[in-house]
Amino acid sequence: MLIERGYKKVRPLAGGLEAWIDAGYDVEVFEIAS
């Protein structure tokens, strides 16, 4: 959908958030509305 709108450099992250966390990189926490 992004590519259809003219964005050429669109890439999914291999392994997603889980791979980022498993690699030991920093994360932030969303503030969830209660």
Partner: protein, 268 residues
Amino acid sequence: MSKLVAWVAQYGVVIVFANVFVEQVGIPVPALPTLIVAGSLVRAGSLSFLALLGAAVAASLIVDTAWYFLGRRYGHRILRTLCKVSLSPDSCVRQTESIFEKWGMASVVAARFITGFSTVAPPLAGAMGARLPVFLFYDSLGTTLWAGTGLILGFVFHRTIADVLGFLEGLGTGAVYLLGAALALFVLFKWWQRRRFYKTLRMARIGVEELRALFEKGEKPVVFDVRGPGERQHDPRRIPGAMTMEMTELDARLPGIAPEVEIVLYCT
């Protein structure tokens, strides 16, 4: 009565139970054709409608309850594992979750009629914290409607099904080879389709090390967290600076982003 029909009439309840069980486990052997054939034999008086319906519901409940508890125990992890057998693992998790959020437990009923979703719905219900009695009620209702529909279809179109069975009977052992070859071709096609999809995906993906390197070099890719609201609530962690993105708000969010900017999307 032909040998094939006699065999189905003798073991119909067991066949229906086994087929529904195997399909709910996630193996692509559709049970609906079996239910339709069994329904045609109800019309002939060879099988009991209630026994067949009971077999289908029992098989489904056994497997679905196991999936429900796995969903409760392992949360979205089990969902991701299940979605790995789908064509699009990332969108599978997000889409099934959004269906559940939109329709609630009614989606467990509808799931029975949607290929692929029927196996994913029970662990999803567990992961989303649905209560067991409520889940069992909706799951039984969905299976009863689905299996009942198949049996009634067979009951109504019994003459056509008898003709098909007669044709297969005429083929002798060739019928077994024909059905086996059709099933093998179907599984092979799905496997090839998935393999091609993964190949394309691997070529286009960015690794976590590469993304980290982009951050360290001072390049600022736009990172979107495209998980559903339910999953973000379940695990509120995100990659630093990542923004949420719902497909419905795509056009409202994009004008602020230049087309030459690198965009990275992630799900679970």
